[in-house]
């Protein structure tokens, strides 16, 4: 593959992925409103288009057309930088996620992953520190939240951002440690290798070789930490409406607010994808049909598994109440973190004994 084709293919992949992701974000908001409405015995949006299907479009137009207000006493540069940083970092995390194996279009084979490369031999490789890049992007994303609250020069924003950054830093530890069990089993930090490691022979002949079965405790910790990391109910203290108006984005309006909104939903996609890749076998599933279908079916399986997580998010939002802040911190430090450490010790012991 020459450098020019490489760049062209990379740009096409980036455009397609960003387009699909942002459309997905828009329709996730609709899904969330519909499902939560059903849980609360309401209808949800119905007016725009059939079943309210054009509602995201209306929301988008409204976001763009609204006045972009910048309050007087904000720290202007950081106030503008913060939403961009939050959105950019959630997009960076998506760059390393593999959606499928590979696809051949017009004689050019490429990996279904922005940072994946298909070699001339047919082998496909990707970044071998993929997980670390996702963790790094989420930890840089904390700056978006922290700076937004600080630069707004408003007490609600500041309190919200202090809560958010403390919560994100605390739960990042549990999140990272919960993944170590899977990494020990797979023996790699590359997301593609981890998925391939889950393609081994099924356990007892019918249970797929997914890491959720040996790592159910790790998955539980990951799930809890992921909810806290994305600031979702039951850990949505940073934007608790009853206490803090809207938390760190109180002073934001128009597209800047939309950027925070998109970043939050993209982060949901990222943690959902990570859970799929590490615990549920990624894109693995039954394959059939012509070659093109065979290369696109994995993407469908992947999307279905991620959809399950998004639905779980919404379901929990409609069901559970909010934690108190001290309960949240105690839960993270006194329960999740020791449990994650114990999980690592037991897993590494078993891996060492079997080796």
């Amino acid at each position: 593959m020459t450098l020019t084709t490489y760049i062209v293919v990379a740009v096409i992949k980036i455009i397609v992925v960003v387009f699909i992701m942002l459309t997905g974000v828009a329709y996730t908001t609709l899904l969330e409103r519909k499902v939560v409405a059903r849980i609360q015995n309401r209808w949800g949006p119905t007016r725009v288009g059939p079943f309210g299907l054009l509602q995201p479009l209306a929301d988008g137009v409204k976001f763009i057309l609204k006045e972009d207000m910048i309050p007087d006493s904000v720290h202007k540069g950081l106030y503008i930088l913060a939403p961009m940083l939050a959105l950019a970092m959630s997009l960076v995390a998506i760059a390393v996620i593999p959606f499928g194996n590979s696809i051949t279009v017009g004689g050019t084979t490429t990996a279904l992953q922005i940072t994946g490369v298909a070699h001339a031999t047919g082998a496909i490789s990707d970044i071998n520190i993929g997980i670390l890049i996702i963790l790094g992007a989420t930890s840089i994303g904390v700056y978006g939240v922290a700076l937004a609250g600080w630069s707004s020069n408003s007490k609600y924003s500041l309190l919200g951002s202090l809560r958010a950054s403390a919560q994100m830093i605390s739960y990042e530890l549990a999140l990272g440690l919960s993944l170590v069990g899977v990494l020990l089993l797979a023996g790699s930090l590359s997301l593609r290798d981890i998925v391939n490691a889950q393609g081994q022979n099924a356990w007892f002949g019918f249970v797929p070789h997914w890491y959720i079965f040996p790592q159910c405790i790790g998955f539980f910790i990951y799930l809890m930490a992921a909810f806290a990391e994305t600031n979702r109910i039951p850990f949505d203290l940073p934007e608790a409406e009853t206490e803090l108006v809207a938390g760190y984005h109180t002073e934001y309006s128009s597209m800047k607010f939309a950027m925070f909104f998109m970043a939050e939903y993209l982060n949901m996609f990222t943690v959902g994808s990570l859970a799929t890749l590490l615990f549920f076998g990624g894109w693995r599933g039954p394959l059939f049909g012509p070659p093109l279908l065979q290369s696109l079916l994995p993407v469908l399986w992947f999307a279905i598994k991620v959809f399950f997580f998004i639905f779980l998010y919404i379901w929990i939002r409609g069901t559970l109440p909010r934690f108190r802040y001290d309960q949240l911190m105690a839960f993270g430090w006194k329960f999740l973190l020791p449990l994650a450490l114990a999980n690592i010790v037991v897993t590494s012991l078993i891996v060492a004994l079997r080796a």
Partner: protein, 166 residues
Amino acid sequence: MIHQILFIIFGVICVAGAVNLLVQRHPINSALSLVVVMGALALIYLLLGAEFVAAIQVIVYAGAIMVLFVFVIMLLNAGEEERSRGSHIALLLGVPGVIALGCLVAWTMLSHNTQLGGVRINTADFGATQPIARLLFRDFLLPFEITSVLILIAIMGAVVLGRRES
């Protein structure tokens, strides 16, 4: 050629960020320029083939240590730096001394440029996670354990210092 261009770009970002750290009066601007320096350094580490170190640099330095700095600046609501008369000795002896030291080091390095040779991006898995882990947990096991004790003491010290006296 591309290697050199990339090095120059990231190196200029590094130096610009470091200079900005000194010029800015507000601590939060300084902290953010230091984050930029660390990000650019991580990219330079990638050029040197140290991918794991680069990732750790972003996660630990930019993502944890600097967040702590930003957090403290936010918590104390630190304002702009006051202009006060600094130490004259630092200004009179320190600044020329540091400039002389920098020039001396740079001149020494550049004059021995050809003998030193160069570095290139290697394709082998030098700097990958596995060999580093093997070295860290086998050959450097004792220092590693000692640093864990160091971290523990630091945590306890921070808790004791940060606690409000009742």
